[in-house]
C-alpha cells in the first residue's frame, strides 16, 4: 500500500523541513548527552538507551501500532500492520533460534534458555491476553503504542500509560493468588524440547505463514480498496521525489535522508528492523519487553505512600516481563530502554513535523484511555508481558505461551472493536 505521508511530505516547504531538522538535531544532541552521562555510570545503561531510541524511532516512523494490527483486521478488514508484525516475528524467530541453539544445544535434557520468554502457560496467559486485547483497543494503543504516541504529543496516550501503571499495581496485589492457584504449577512449554531447534523454527514459521494467509483472506473478503489519494499531485517543488530522476550524489543523499527521517516508513521494512533489533537485544542480554520495568515504577510509587503490595512469590524464578518488586533504586537498564523509546519517538516526530500536542475534546476519551490502560496493565501483570514481552518476544522464543497470548489478544481486540463502536 502506498502510504499517504510521502505525498504530503513532498509538498512540505523547504523552510518547514529546515525548522523540523533543527528541532530534531537538537533532540538527538540531547540524546547523545544522555548517552555520555549514562555511559559514565554503567555501559549497560547507555546500551539500553540506544536500543530504546532505535525502537522508538522505528515505531514512530512506521506508526507500528500493535493495537491497530489486531483491531483493524476486525474493524476494517485491513492487515497492513499485521503483515509487518508477522514479518517481525519471522525475523525474530530465525534470530532467536540461532541464539538459543547456542545457549541450549541439547534440547532433550529439559533445560530452558535462560533469558528467552518461555513462560508458565495457563488460564492466566489466556485471561491476560484477552484483557490486554480489550484494553489496548479501548485505549487506542498498546503499551509500546502509547509510549511512541506519548512522544508524538498525544495526551490521551499519557493517560493510557498512567492507567497501565495503575493496572500493573492492581495485578501486583493479586499476584500471589495467581501464583498459588495457577502460575506456580503451570508448565513452561518450549517447542524445541519436542521438535529440536530446526523443527521448532519450521513449525513457528509455518504458523506465521498460516496467520498471514488468514489475514490476506480477510482482506480479500473485505474488498480492500487502496484509492488514489488525490492530494497526490505534488505541488511545484524542488524536492526530489521517488519518481523523479535525481541529478547528483547530494540529491540522492537528500532523498535517502528524507525517506528515513521525514517520510513515513512502509510497514514491512519496519517490522523486519524491529525483529532484527529484538534479536540484537536478546543477544546482548534479554528480549525486548518493558512492562516488568513499568511495574517497578508503580510499585515504587505505591511504597512511597505505604501501600505497596507485599513480597511477590516466585517472580525471581521467571524470565520475561514478570512483575518487578521495587528495589529501592531509581536507575536500572530497563528504565533507559523505556525512556529511550519515548525519546526516540519524540525526536523522530520532531524531524518529520509530526509532533503536536493533541487533546481529546470528548471527556469520554480520557475515561476510555484510563480504563483501557488499567485493563491492559492488569492483563500484562498476570500474562507476564504485553504485546511485546508476552507476544513479539515470546513467539520468537519458540514458546507456546506466545501463541496462546496472541490468540487471546486477537479475541480481546475483537471484543474491544465491538465496544468502541458503541462509544463513538
Amino acid at each position: 500500500m502506498r502510504r499517504a505521508h510521502p505525498v504530503i511530505m513532498d509538498r512540505m516547504t523547504d523552510e518547514r523541513v529546515s525548522v523540523n531538522t533543527i528541532l530534531a538535531l537538537t533532540a538527538w544532541a540531547a540524546a547523545a548527552v544522555v548517552y555520555v552521562v549514562a555511559r559514565a555510570q554503567d555501559t549497560e545503561f547507555a546500551m539500553f538507551w540506544v536500543f530504546g531510541l532505535a525502537f522508538g524511532f522505528v515505531l514512530q516512523r512506521a506508526r507500528f501500532c500493535f493495537a491497530s494490527a489486531f483491531r483493524d483486521i476486525f474493524l476494517l478488514g485491513h492487515a497492513r500492520n499485521m503483515k509487518g508484525l508477522l514479518l517481525g516475528l519471522a525475523v525474530g524467530s530465525v534470530g532467536f533460534a540461532l541464539v538459543m541453539s547456542r545457549q541450549v544445544p541439547l534440547t532433550g535434557l529439559g533445560i530452558y534458555p535462560p533469558s528467552a520468554n518461555v513462560l508458565p502457560l495457563g488460564i492466566h496467559t489466556g485471561l491476560g491476553g484477552l484483557l490486554f486485547g480489550v484494553g489496548m483497543v479501548l485505549a487506542g494503543g498498546c503499551v509500546s503504542g502509547s509510549i511512541y504516541r506519548m512522544g508524538e504529543g498525544y495526551v490521551a496516550s499519557w493517560v493510557a500509560f498512567a492507567g497501565v501503571m495503575g493496572g500493573l499495581l492492581v495485578s501486583a496485589y493479586t499476584w500471589n493468588w495467581w501464583w498459588e492457584a495457577h502460575i506456580a504449577t503451570a508448565p513452561r512449554m518450549w517447542l524445541p524440547h519436542w521438535l529440536g531447534h530446526p523443527g521448532a523454527l519450521v513449525v513457528t514459521l509455518l504458523g506465521l505463514a498460516a496467520v498471514y494467509l488468514w489475514v490476506v483472506s480477510i482482506e480479500h473478503r473485505a474488498g480492500v480498496v487502496v484509492p488514489p489519494v488525490s492530494g497526490v499531485r505534488p505541488q511545484a517543488s524542488s524536492q526530489p521525489t521517488a519518481n523523479t530522476q535525481t541529478e547528483s550524489v547530494a540529491d540522492d543523499l537528500r532523498l535517502t535522508l528524507r525517506q528515513l527521517f521525514v517520510q513515513g516508513w512502509p510497514v514491512l521494512p519496519a517490522g523486519a528492523v524491529l525483529g532484527g533489533l529484538n534479536v540484537l537485544l536478546f543477544t546482548a542480554r534479554e528480549p525486548w519487553g518493558f512492562t516488568g520495568e513499568v511495574s517497578r515504577w508503580s510499585i515504587a510509587m505505591a511504597s512511597i505512600v505505604d501501600v505497596a503490595p507485599g513480597p511477590l512469590a516466585g517472580v525471581e524464578s521467571l524470565p520475561g516481563c514478570v512483575l518487578v518488586p521495587s528495589d529501592g533504586l531509581f536507575f536500572n537498564h530497563m528504565l533507559f530502554l523505556v525512556f529511550g523509546m519515548f525519546f526516540g519517538s519524540f525526536a523522530a516526530a520532531l524531524g518529520a513535523g509530526e509532533f503536536k500536542v493533541r487533546l481529546p475534546r470528548r471527556p469520554v476519551r480520557y475515561a476510555q484511555s484510563l480504563g483501557g490502560g488499567v485493563i491492559m496493565g492488569y492483563g500484562a501483570g498476570i500474562g507476564m508481558g504485553c504485546t511485546i514481552g508476552a507476544f513479539f518476544s515470546a513467539i520468537p522464543s519458540l514458546a507456546v505461551n506466545g501463541w496462546v497470548f496472541g490468540a487471546f489478544l486477537a479475541l480481546g481486540a475483537w471484543i474491544g472493536t465491538h465496544i468502541i463502536q458503541r462509544i463513538e
Binding site: 500500500m1 502510504r3 499517504a4 505521508h5 505525498v7 504530503i8 509538498r11 512540505m12 518547514r16 506508526r63 501500532c65 493495537a67 491497530s68 483491531r71 483493524d72 474493524l75 476494517l76 485491513h78 497492513r80 485505549a139 487506542g140 494503543g141 498525544y154 490521551a156 496516550s157 474488498g223 480492500v224 480498496v225 487502496v226 484509492p227 489519494v229 488525490s230 492530494g231 513515513g264 513535523g353 509530526e354 509532533f355 503536536k356 493533541r358 487533546l359 481529546p360 475534546r361 470528548r362 476519551r365 476510555q368 484511555s369 468502541i420 463502536q421 463513538e424
Partner: protein
Amino acid sequence: MTPTKLDVRGEICPYPMMRTASALKRLSSDERTLEVVTDHPPALETIPTQAARLGFRTDIEETSASEWRLTLTRKEAETEV
C-alpha cells in the same frame, strides 16, 4: 451550498476514521462533499479507504503543521459534472 464540516482533531485512534465514516453515512443524498479536519496521520490512510468503500473520493491538503483537511466527494456527483 457550503459543505458539511467535521472536526476530529484531538481524537484518539481510530475515531477520526470511524466518525468520518458515520458522517458520510449521515449525509443527505443531495450533499456531495464532506470536509474533515484531522491531526491524526494514520487517518490519512484509513479515511480514504473507508470513504472509497462508501463511494467517495478523497483530496488531502495539509493546512498547518500536523493538520490536514480531507475533502471527500461523492463519486456519482463527479461523473454528473
